[in-house]
Symmetry: C2
Subunit: 110 residues, 2 copies
């Protein structure tokens, strides 16, 4: 389960929906607020989050139907746990990039 | 980067090394303490963690060489961030499994 919830797009979708809470967000708007996400990746991510009970999906029977997403209570509690990991990643990104560069150079010398 | 650090095996490797800290752990012992991990997956995970500067690798030039792993300071700080996500997953696993079952049944009726 950790593999599902710890990924970049899950984290970004949960954060985007948490920022909008308690309001719902439509698919197209969610995609706009998640730079770089593909239509397919967002659909797969939302389906997984919905199946896990972290996101609620509401369909208005207009033509075409309008689909709205929002975090459930469970989803909001995940946001708090993910925020810690996200903050850690932002604070340490430079150190990690530096370590990667050093490792790459070392590999060049071997 | 979040995709690398949020995965199940990265989280388990970091936790196992954190539990052993400040002692080092050899590859075979690390594999023993991580039920279900394959030799290849553990190698890939440790290489990624080492490249990111989260794990330090020390080789004793015996024949065959003996390889030791331990968390760096950066790695220990990641453990604190991962622990929050791990605890959340453990606390909510039952709710998520239930949501998955309900979603699967719903899919059967569609």
């Amino acid at each position: 389960m950790l593999d599902r919830i710890g990924t970049k797009w899950t984290s970004m979708a949960v954060k985007t929906l948490a920022d909008a809470a308690p309001d719902e967000v439509r698919f197209a708007e969610l995609k706009r607020r998640m730079p770089g996400v593909s239509q397919k990746m967002l659909s797969v991510t939302l389906r997984s989050l919905t199946r896990d009970g972290l996101v609620a999906r509401r369909v208005e029977p207009t033509v075409p139907p309008r689909v709205f997403y929002r975090l459930t209570g469970l989803g909001l509690s995940l946001e708090a746990a993910l925020a810690g990991l996200r903050t850690w990643a932002e604070e340490h990104m430079v150190e990690i990039d530096r370590a990667n560069e050093a490792a790459a150079q070392e590999a060049d010398w071997e």
